[in-house]
């Protein structure tokens, strides 16, 4: 049960009567009895909530930054009309609106209410409870009950770097020889023979085939196809650090936990959390993990279009998620689906275990893309010792997001504080470049780029490898 504001108002008005009455004590008693009687009557006459039934409908996937609509059908099988409010409670970062809605269901009928979700964080968001408060005809008291109406919405990574995809696909087509520029196609794999047209490279004329026919025939080339790419996402502690500015205005998890009144209209980007604090100045950024995911998605989309097979593995001390053997059409959707619930684990990544997992999954030679951090300590103790095992059988590409805040600090001059910070930043950059040099000496390709350039830089590195025929 629950009281309403009207009951409080009635009790307050009774105080005036008490003030003027000749026998105030009796009036107080009478007022209490009358109020209790009215509340009881209201409770008895309110529509029953016990037998309510709920059905949900709607979508269960949304990209971060988008909204989706969840329907909730309330079925009132009772004999009395149900009037009151309903709260469809979701986890705070699901961004459910409105927080409470009016409800009016005649006996034996059903009504559909709509909740709009605008999630502010990647991952699985759940509907926690549905609470119905059925107010009596006098509006003094209400019956209340909480139900479970489970529903889960998976908030997928936004894949913001997909805007870089068309340009990279154009480069790929160029390499593929399908582009009008009729140069000797990049790549090393023989594709087909066709008739010579003016402008073709004379070096590509196949004399043997030309001799068989009365025409001059050229060979065409194309990049290798059906190579394997294994994207390994490091979900250890180093991937939790936040970098740069969250591109969607809100960070992946700017949310007011559990606050009752604070959940106003939070739809759309830019409710003042992201842009206010400068780049890299704090918790408004995205975790390294999210930047890595973004780059991984662009790389996967590109590689799938280039005809390569892409597998995905997320690992810290155990396999967190994996996608293997997905068809080209399903690759992206299964990858975002696998990525969505991944969060950075606050444990040191187990590089040896990761290498073992990679070796057991990739029997043939493949391109292993390690999305991690070029952290000296973590690298020296973890990855560097096991890297020879990997690079002996596979081509390894290590990719890490650089922190713009470090560059900003390194440029600091003027005061002693700024110069000390600059020295610290320079020291980190020195260590990082040492790690990069060590990796390159071991035959590992390295991509180290600022957050906004990271995904295109990784895609370009892949294209360069492909053009050079090193896959």
């Amino acid at each position: 049960m629950a009281l309403t504001g009207r009951a409080g108002l009635l009790a307050a008005l009774a105080a005036i009567v008490v003030l003027l009455a000749p026998e105030p004590g009796l009036v107080v008693l009478a007022a209490a009895l009358v109020l209790a009687a009215l509340v009881t009557a209201d409770l008895l006459l309110a529509g029953g909530v016990r037998g309510l039934r709920f059905h949900r409908d709607g979508d269960n996937r949304v990209r971060l930054g988008g909204s989706l609509v969840i329907g909730l059908v309330v079925d009132n099988p009772g004999p009395r009309r149900l009037r009151g409010v309903l709260r469809d409670a979701w986890q705070p970062s699901a961004g459910a609106a409105p927080r409470r809605q009016a409800l009016d269901v005649p006996p034996g009928e059903r009504r559909r209410l709509v909740t709009t979700l605008t999630p502010v964080r990647r991952g699985d968001r759940e509907a926690v409870a549905v609470t119905v408060r059925s107010v009596g005809p006098l509006g003094l008291a209400a019956r209340q009950r909480t139900f479970e109406a489970p529903w889960t919405v998976r908030v997928l990574p936004p894949f913001l770097s997909r805007r870089h995809l068309p340009a990279r696909l154009a480069r790929l087509r160029e390499m593929d020889g399908r582009h009008p520029a009729l140069v000797r196609g990049q790549g090393t794999e023989f594709d087909s023979l066709r008739e010579y047209v003016v402008g073709d490279d004379v070096r590509s004329i196949d004399w043997r085939a030309s001799a068989r026919r009365s025409d001059v025939v050229v060979r065409t080339w194309r990049p290798e196809r059906d190579r394997r790419v294994l994207i390994v996402l490091d979900t250890g502690r180093t991937s939790a650090g936040r970098i740069g500015t969250a591109p969607l205005g809100f960070g992946p998890d700017v949310s007011a936990p559990g606050s009752d009144a604070g959940r106003g209209p939070k739809a759309g980007p830019g409710p003042g959390s992201g842009p206010g604090s400068g780049p890299g100045s704090g918790a408004s950024g995205w975790p390294r993990l999210d930047w890595s995911m973004d780059a991984a998605l662009l790389l996967a989309a590109l590689a799938a279009r280039a005809g390569d097979r892409v597998d995905f593995l997320a690992y810290d001390r155990a396999v967190r998620a994996q996608v293997s053997g997905a068809s080209r059409t399903e690759l992206l959707s299964s990858m975002v689906n696998a990525m969505a619930p991944i969060e950075a684990e606050l444990v040191e990544a187990d590089a040896a275990g990761m290498a073992a997992a990679v070796l057991s999954r990739a029997r043939r030679r493949c391109l292993v893309v390690l999305l991690t951090d070029l952290n000296t300590a973590a690298m020296e103790e973890g990855l560097l010792p096991v890297l020879p095992q990997l690079s002996a059988r596979h081509l390894v590409l290590a990719a890490a997001v650089a922190d713009p805040r470090v560059a900003e600090m390194a440029a600091g001059r003027g005061s002693a504080e700024a110069v000390y910070d600059a020295a610290a930043a320079e020291r980190l950059r020195g260590e990082r470049s040492e790690v990069t040099a060590t990796l390159r000496r071991q035959g590992v390709e390295v991509v180290d780029a600022l957050p906004e350039d990271f995904a295109p830089a990784l895609a370009d590195a892949y294209l360069a490898l492909k053009a050079a025929g090193r896959l």
């Binding site: 970062s93 969060e343 110069v419 020291r427």
Partner: protein
């Protein structure tokens, strides 16, 4: 076409929104005005309802209003009499001595009979002015004859104080003189000023005290009579009315002999019950607000930590330890790393080689450049800042050359 439609729609929306905003603002102003009026009314109500009575404390030596006696007190002090203002009979007894005069007026709160007895037994002389309570204890043997109008009267007696003062505003209670007493200012069948000696104390009783007030002190011989009577001893203990009647010793009864009424007694009985009812209302409201619409929803949030925290931490460590050596080393190494490819020196080259190459490229003396790139650590923070700036300059020079 679409654009036009959209713009029209937007325009309409904006217009109605503005109108709604104006209406809302207007309503807000109205509410504000109403609240301000209510507050002002509530503030003014007590002033309007309060009875029209003069403020100030009657016959109080510290009060400067018309009914106070600050003027007399000042005059007495100017004549060398020490005026001690007390508020309770206990304090008065404590202050009294053989060479003191105790002034008890109709404004003095004696409280109980016991207090009056203790006052009467206190050493020193007594001056009782007006309708003081427990007159029979303080001035035994005096009888009230009648109540006379207060007006200017001649002394008509041999009392030196009265004769010197001449006419004065007297009246009030007219006393019958006991044997051995001196009566002055006759009115009706008795006298309005009676002096007699009782038990070693000289007791002077006045029928009315209004000539002691600031209002009447300047008229006739009032001031002279008051000074003569009250200034008879070097120390005057003035029993005045306290700020809080409840503070008066044994303050169970008031000046009129009636039970003293506390603030609680003055509140009508209904108000207490109404307040109780309001408490009930608050409780009901609290129940209304306290009932949540469903449970609090919790969520496991990921850790929020900046990736740059380690670097910033290291910077703070350098700063707190003043680690100029390490800072200079890092800055120099970074500058050398950046200079090496610009100068065409291999990455493995030592700092000295880089310095020599940089000096040769920019045409500077090799000495200072060497000192800049591989010299001793800076002596203080200013030198470190200068070192960073010099490294930047060198880098720029090499880049531009």
């Amino acid at each position: 076409m679409t654009a036009t439609t959209t713009r029209t729609t937007t325009g309409t929306t904006t217009g109605s929104a503005t109108r709604a905003g104006t209406r809302r603002r207007g309503r807000g102003t109205a509410w504000g005005t109403l609240v301000v009026l209510l507050v002002l009314g509530a503030a003014a109500l007590p002033a309007l309802l309060a009875p029209d009575q003069p403020t100030g404390r009657l016959l109080d030596p510290a009060d400067t209003s018309l009914i106070g006696s600050s003027a007399l007190s000042r005059l007495l002090e100017a004549h060398g009499v020490e005026v001690v203002r007390v508020e309770t009979p206990g304090a008065a007894v404590a202050a009294a001595g053989p060479q003191t005069l105790l002034l008890i007026t109709e404004a003095s709160l004696l409280g109980s009979h016991d207090a009056a007895v203790r006052l009467a037994e206190a050493p020193g002389d007594r001056l009782i002015a007006g309708h003081a309570s427990f007159l029979d204890v303080l001035a035994p043997g005096l009888n009230r004859e009648s109540v006379e109008r207060v007006r200017s009267r001649p002394p008509r007696c041999a009392l030196r104080e009265a004769v010197r003062a001449g006419d004065a505003f007297t009246g009030g209670i007219s006393f019958s003189s006991p044997p051995g007493s001196t009566g002055c200012y006759p009115a009706g069948d008795g006298h309005t000023l009676v002096r007699y000696t009782e038990d070693g104390h000289t007791v002077t009783a006045l029928g009315d005290a209004s000539f002691l007030t600031n209002m009447w002190l300047a008229d006739d011989g009032n001031a002279a009579l008051a000074l003569n009577l009250a200034g008879a001893r070097p120390k005057l203990v003035w029993l005045a009315q306290g700020d809080d009647p409840a503070e008066a010793e044994d303050g169970a009864t008031g000046a009129d002999g009636e039970p003293a009424r506390s603030l609680g007694d003055l509140i009508p009985g209904g108000v207490t019950w109404a307040v109780f009812q309001l408490v009930v209302a608050v409780a009901v409201t609290a129940l209304w607000r306290a009932r949540r619409l469903g449970p609090v929803v919790t969520e496991r949030l990921p850790v929020v930590v900046r990736a740059s925290e380690t670097v910033e931490g290291r910077g703070l460590l350098y700063r707190s330890r003043r680690a100029r050596d390490r800072a200079a080393l890092a800055l120099r190494a970074a500058a050398a790393d950046r200079l090496a490819p610009l100068l065409g020196v291999p990455r493995t080259a030592t700092a000295e080689e880089v310095a020599d190459a940089a000096a040769a490229r920019t045409g500077q003396d090799p000495g200072p450049v060497r000192a800049l790139l591989c010299g001793p650590e800076p002596a203080d923070d200013a030198a470190l800042v200068a070192l960073a700036a010099d490294l930047d300059t060198l880098e720029r020079q090499v880049r531009d050359s």
